[in-house]
């Protein structure tokens, strides 16, 4: 449940799980994944046990926000991984909260 504590400490609702020693994204853990793990009794589970194995959809850092929002909504995911460079490396995350915060700034 280190992941749950981290999530709370950082104020985030999803955490990216990276493979050791690389930029490869192994998967994502959302707060709903954590809740499911606890309900199923897996309080001692490791990140690798409860994460969604599929890497989240990604968006290039130079892409328009509009297409990123569309992709986020169409994918049904909670967040997009933002990539940059060639080859593309993950540099950040874009969540619904980030988009709402952006609208508030406008």
């Amino acid at each position: 449940m280190e992941v749950a504590r981290r999530m709370q400490d950082e104020g985030v609702r999803a955490i990216i799980v990276a493979s050791a020693g690389s930029d490869l994204i192994a998967g994502v853990i959302t707060d709903l994944d954590l809740l499911r793990a606890v309900i199923d009794g897996h309080t001692e589970a490791m990140a690798s046990d409860i994460m969604t194995l599929e890497p989240p959809p990604s968006v290039s850092a130079g892409e328009r926000l509009g297409s990123a929002v569309e992709r986020l909504r169409d994918s049904g995911a909670d967040l997009l991984v933002v990539t940059d460079g060639n080859p593309a490396r993950p540099v950040g995350v874009l969540s619904y909260g980030d988009i709402a915060a952006h609208l508030a700034r406008g």
């Binding site: 449940m1 504590r5 990276a18 606890v38 926000l65 509009g66 969540s95 508030a104």
Partner: protein, 201 residues
């Protein structure tokens, strides 16, 4: 997990865990104003109401993001969910947690159940009175230390045994955790990355 904390929390009611109070906005408010209300009040949900046309609905960050293409033209009424999940303050956290999982809901409104059967959402709200607060998955996950036993007691899936991870899985998890910490530190040090939502809830 502290055995003490886990042992005495088997039936915590929602009222003990919810975030008390709701932020209200007028249903005519623009999406941008709703986003600002969320930011300024440090909340992830806002309740939109319109007394004259008897509208009421819950707006979360996802709904706000849905109005990104016209944040000054679209209104709260256009993006709100008029039929949000509602929990009674006396409902056990375990039961609500299971309902949220089943529905994929990340936020519920906490309100007294209507005293009488009424048709129509608005008349139901008139019967209930205003919501007492909200409960999010994050609120539950953030207090898992004390709530894990209560949440695990969810009726439909309570038969699952606690699984002990094999040592090699534990090792793999440890490596993953270390990588995660390093990644986060790098991200913060760099400053250009945005790995978090705003903290401060």
């Amino acid at each position: 997990m502290s055995p003490l904390a886990a042992g005495n929390a088997t039936n915590r009611p929602v009222r003990d865990v919810m975030r008390a109070g709701v932020v209200l906005c007028d249903a005519d408010m623009s999406v941008r104003e709703v986003a600002r209300a969320m930011r300024d009040r440090s909340v992830r949900t806002v309740l939109a109401i319109d007394l004259s046309s008897e509208l009421i609905g819950l707006i979360d960050e996802r709904a706000v993001a849905g109005g990104w293409d016209d944040p000054d033209g679209r209104t709260a009424a256009a993006i709100m969910d008029p039929d949000p999940m509602i929990a009674s303050p006396d409902e056990p956290v375990a039961s609500v947690a299971q309902r949220m999982l089943d529905a994929g809901a990340t936020n519920v409104l906490v309100a007294h159940p209507p005293p009488t059967e009424e048709s129509g959402v608005w008349s139901e709200w008139k019967e209930r009175g205003m919501p007492l607060g909200t409960l999010s998955v994050a609120d539950i996950v953030g207090r898992l230390d004390e709530l894990a036993a209560a949440v695990r007691a969810a009726p439909p899936r309570s038969t699952s045994p606690v699984q002990r991870a094999a040592p090699w899985i534990a090792l793999a998890g440890l490596v993953l955790a270390i990588v995660l910490v390093v990644a986060l530190i790098l991200a913060y040090a760099n400053g250009t990355h945005h790995l978090t939502n705003r903290p401060g809830l």
